[in-house]
Amino acid sequence: MSQSIGRSCDELKKEYDACFNKWYSEKFLKGDLRPECEEIFKKYRDCVLNAVKNKNIDKLLVEARKDDPFSSVAEK
């Protein structure tokens, strides 16, 4: 598993990645689209967004999303 931008998020990331990868292979690719791993994703994501803010990347992301046809992903 790769590391997280926030060192304190590494453990959460590891747990989330493991959950997602299992879901992806065992559910998603077999046609079951119901989401799983939501709870751990929320914890991991909160940690990452905090690190992103501390490193001042949040503003760069906002700008990038404006020019991006896929921006709906980020705004949800």
């Binding site: 990452v48 991006d68 992903v73």
Partner: protein, 182 residues
């Protein structure tokens, strides 16, 4: 503006390749990718397409002119958005640098599709567009060439690294089943 394009065929089925794509890093051939984070992810209930937004953190040398203008920092952030259509077996990722984007714009599109003539294989296509900003336009040729070469090197190493990941995952649980069955 300069363009870079490459194609490759992986001798693994699309399901295996698309699952392994999430495990591509870290790999020993791509030490410049130091962190990857998921910022957002959801399945579109109408299309069944999985959309993911990720933040990629890289550390790699850039031309001195750029690193000077960027305060000597060599950590580069990029935003990647991917769409996976499991029905049509298409994985499409686009990425763009967030850092230094007033100096240079490097945007990349990668697709993995099932080989229409052989479902046990996956076709890979990578396109990059490199464009210098106005402020350094007189160095554009040099800098754009540098990044084209960088893409060429990283693409070659990335392919080798990904082959190793694909090979490693072939022996593991569920992906093994996918590899054999689909």
């Amino acid at each position: 503006m300069k363009l870079f394009e490459t194609t490759h065929t992986f001798f693994y089925n699309w399901s295996h390749v698309s699952a392994a794509n999430w495990c591509k890093y870290p790999n020993e051939k791509c030490p410049h990718v130091i962190a990857i984070d998921v910022l957002d992810r959801h399945v579109d209930p109408e299309t069944g397409i999985l959309r993911t937004e990720r933040l990629i953190t890289c550390q790699q040398n850039v031309p001195r002119l750029l690193s000077r203008l960027y305060g000597g920092n060599t950590v580069i952030y990029a935003r990647e958005v991917s769409e996976i259509d499991p029905k049509n077996k298409v994985l499409r990722m686009t990425s763009c640098n967030l850092s230094m984007n007033n100096l240079i714009n490097v945007s990349e599109t990668v697709t993995y599709t099932e080989d229409p003539s052989d479902s046990s294989k996956t076709l890979f296509k990578q396109e990059a567009r490199i464009k210098c900003g106005e402020s350094i336009s007189r160095f554009a040729n040099y800098i754009e060439d540098f990044f084209v070469q960088r893409f060429r090197d990283n693409a070659a190493m990335g392919k080798q690294g990904f082959e190793n990941v694909l090979d490693r995952l072939t022996g593991q649980g569920e992906t093994l089943l996918l590899h054999k069955k689909v």
